[in-house]
Symmetry: C2
């Protein structure tokens, strides 16, 4: 058995670069040239490794979803309380509004906005993506309720959906260039619904 020439780039690194590109510009507005430049690979390597623009996008969505989920779960675990985790999550969004990755919104929400329901593959990626975040919020809410940080008579499923929706709105507001102070006010009111 032989091994052949080793690739000159790191697949995960290229994937991450592509994800950032889609995140910033959206699927349609991102051209192959944009991707190749961001990923720093040749066209041949691109098609050999990822198959097509659409296939790459799917992997990027999954990568984003997993990264986000892992990050949230890590924060939840090391947070002193579940309620504080929720607060910190929303504060981080208003803080990173103008700079950082926050100014690009949420890839999943962006994708939901770009493709409506017309592409079934993408629609499913959006659905599973939102479900993952929903689940993380749900865990946090239930734990917060158990600890008496959120009234126990509130429907945790509904609250999780509410946080998901609010997060999407907030990130879009940030993307639209809303002032940090305004974002902070929105967060404060949003979180007051949990009291």
């Amino acid at each position: 058995m032989t091994t052949g020439r080793p690739r000159e780039f790191d697949t995960n690194q290229a994937l991450a670069a592509a994800m950032h590109q889609f995140w910033q510009q959206g699927y349609t507005a991102t051209s192959l040239q944009d991707l190749l430049k961001a990923m720093q690979i040749s066209k041949s390597s691109f098609y050999q490794t990822f198959g097509s623009k659409h296939a790459l996008f799917q992997r990027c969505m999954e990568h984003y979803r997993n990264t986000l989920e892992d990050s949230m779960l890590a924060h939840l675990q090391k947070s002193p309380s579940a309620r504080q985790f929720i607060d910190a999550t929303f504060r981080a969004i208003s803080d990173n509004g103008q700079d950082g990755d926050g100014q690009f919104g949420c890839l999943i929400m962006n994708t939901a906005s770009e493709f409506a329901q017309d592409d079934p593959v993408v629609a499913k990626l959006v659905r599973t993506g939102t479900e993952k975040i929903h689940t993380v919020f749900l865990h946090a809410i239930k734990r917060a309720q158990a600890d008496g940080e959120i009234p126990g008579d509130k429907n945790p499923e509904a609250l999780a959906s509410y946080l998901l929706s609010s997060m999407g709105g907030l990130r879009t507001m940030a993307k639209a260039g809303t002032a940090r102070k305004t974002l902070e006010e929105i967060v404060k009111i949003t979180l007051s619904a949990l009291d």
Copy 2:
């Protein structure tokens, strides 16, 4: 003075059709062919009347903004109370989530999501668009506070921003295919922040 050949289409009608197209598919994903088919005019007429795809898009954004503002103001006026207007506005979104125009989200928010801040012309259209809606909400909130339907100690500006953000999130959720029942739960919690 002579008048020349009369045009065979209605400008406003064509504009409305174009707006719907952009609304459904976004700017980049909407091709000239798509527009011509939707507007039912020839390429010559298109460029003679609207100049370019980008110029047309600007007019569509303005048209959407004006239409939305007029509609909201009309509803506000004929509503028995300002608070009921706010409630009804959000209920309408969760009602028209799957069908109607609601499934396409909000053109302004969609545009904010599609273009980040890279296109200054579009960025300004987004800003003025959101400001208009913000102002309508602000009027409603102040009136509701004067009528004792919303606590007077709450900051009306912040509340208006909150409603704007929530509306955007809710419409994106609807666009993502969220079940009506879930949308209704989100609305209920969202509005509870006004109590």
